[in-house]
Assembly symmetry: C2
Homo-oligomer: 311 residues x 2
């Protein structure tokens, strides 16, 4: 089968199409024909060697997947051949979704919502679970909460806006000028163009700030939070100094590192079926163009997700 | 810390106490001080080399764990230091629970039910999830179903009887003479002493047969099932011939290979808190006596579970 293999750490050019063995499903696993996978910023960090989640090359990157079950391993009775599934198996360990086939334990997958095609379903797991686990499982955002979402036009951000709205929150998003209309179209109640307006000057009294940007964005958000409010970060969870400063400011510090979770995937699928959530895909490329997809993601200019198709 | 390391495949004597490094929690993980772990038959197969789930020695066996969170890795916000948790992280891959400390992704653990001590909570995950995923997730046992549980006094069996009863089923258990009273005490409606009575002669019209024995028990159970009934097996899921025969007999074949699942653990914890489920522990030994624990499990005479304590 075709996989994108990398034999060394480096720039996008290390991602090379290569022929690999189709994996066979073991005990607890199904084999999935990958129709689409999506590219997340974390994969660009792993590719370049800045985040050694899966050891040293050679390896195949990729976690997000949407596809069709082609074989069922012993005891893997949650699915049957032909079922359409999506998920992000094994994150943050063993990756391999930049491939025509993967194997996965069944409880790292869920049924693909029927109203999403594979391209859009592959765009959802990693960013969707990050937003769901952060906003719902941890911060418990609910009716009437005021939520500030940074980079609200990006991969995690554009899903976070929709999930917070679906939970009944009042949502304020920050975005660059080019993405303001997009973020408004997602249902945000207010959108701040961070190129022209300092959010720290104009936003007040939020219950939750969701930071997927880092580089000081969390600390600059302190004045926007009500006393006791929550700084939820998907990027600086390991920053002990930021945690200490947050707590010293009378705020709650919460990190979210996304994990595989079929229950969360099922919750996302229900939001999709209810018409409350739709991942936005800005670019679709064939799997063999993974290097180009990484360049796009690293440009930082994409609105929503970059997807690779393998079928 | 103390771990039980094995450097070669073989009999119980290959399990040796040794000093190992305390693992540090990574991204998504917590570190858990293991208070107790339990021994499952699958570990005796892996130890002996009959079921190569985790590669070649040296390795540390063990999946079931109950303990206390001692460190929280970046973004692992589901738990805080001091939380009591239980689970079977990474099954059927990387094992290490025969140790004083483990690390685990947070969604492979759940909060320990307060009414169980660590010894009993450590006895529950692998057998409890096997029974829950098989009977509830897959076979969907409910009110009024007739369920035959084989080896109803064993590790999986004694939990399966209680779960089926909690779901409102009519439960028939098979057991050896010495375990008949024990199985009755679990709430089974009928208990068949398989040493004196052939279950295939006396049981009829069941909706589900749960086989954790193998060696022909599944096929011999065909006459006990109603037309369209389900043969659920936790041991012969890979037996294609048995599957074909089952389907040819007008029955449904279902295998269950257990997977980590915090949702399932939470369901088990609720049954415990509701007074409907309690694991039975027949022997408790200190961790360094893991070899003796394996001998006990291999003797086949234990009622319920064998637990190792590490604190």
């Amino acid at each position: 089968m075709l996989s994108i293999v990398q034999n060394s750490l480096g720039g996008p050019e290390v991602l090379e199409p290569a022929e690999t063995e189709i994996p066979e499903p073991a005990f607890t696993e199904v084999q999935v024909r990958v129709h689409a996978t999506s590219v997340n910023p974390v994969e660009t960090y792993v590719r370049a060697g800045h985040f050694p989640l899966i050891g040293q090359p050679p390896f195949v990157l990729g976690w997000d997947v949407s596809g069709v079950v082609t074989k069922v391993g012993p005891g893997a009775s949650r699915f049957a051949v032909g079922d359409e599934v999506f998920g992000m198996p094994h994150f943050p360990r063993a990756a391999s979704a930049y491939s025509e086939y993967i194997v996965s334990p069944t409880r790292m997958l869920a049924r693909k919502p029927a109203s999403l095609d594979h391209v859009h379903a592959a765009a959802l797991p990693l960013v969707g679970l990050t937003a769901w686990q952060g906003l719902v499982d941890f911060a418990q955002v609910g009716e009437g909460d005021r939520v500030l979402v940074h980079a609200a036009g990006g991969g995690v951000g554009h899903i976070a806006v929709q999930i917070a709205k679906a939970r009944g929150a009042y949502v304020i998003g920050t975005a660059s000028t080019a993405k303001v209309d997009f973020v408004r179209s997602l249902g945000a109640d207010e959108v701040i163009d961070y190129r022209t307006t300092d959010f720290a000057e104009v936003v007040r009294d939020t219950d939750v700030v969701f930071d997927v940007v880092g580089s000081g964005t969390g600390e600059r958000s302190f004045p926007t939070l009500r006393r006791g409010g929550t700084l939820l970060t998907a990027v600086e969870h390991g920053n002990a100094e930021l945690r200490a400063k947050t707590e010293a400011a009378g705020l709650r510090f919460l990190g979210v590192a996304v994990e595989p979770d079929y229950t969360g995937l099922e919750a996302l699928a229900r939001l999709v079926e209810d018409g409350k959530l739709r991942p936005h895909v800005s670019s679709v490329l064939p799997l063999r163009d993974a290097a180009k997809a990484h360049e796009l993601v690293e440009s930082g200019s994409t609105q929503g997700k970059v997807v690779l198709t393998a079928a």
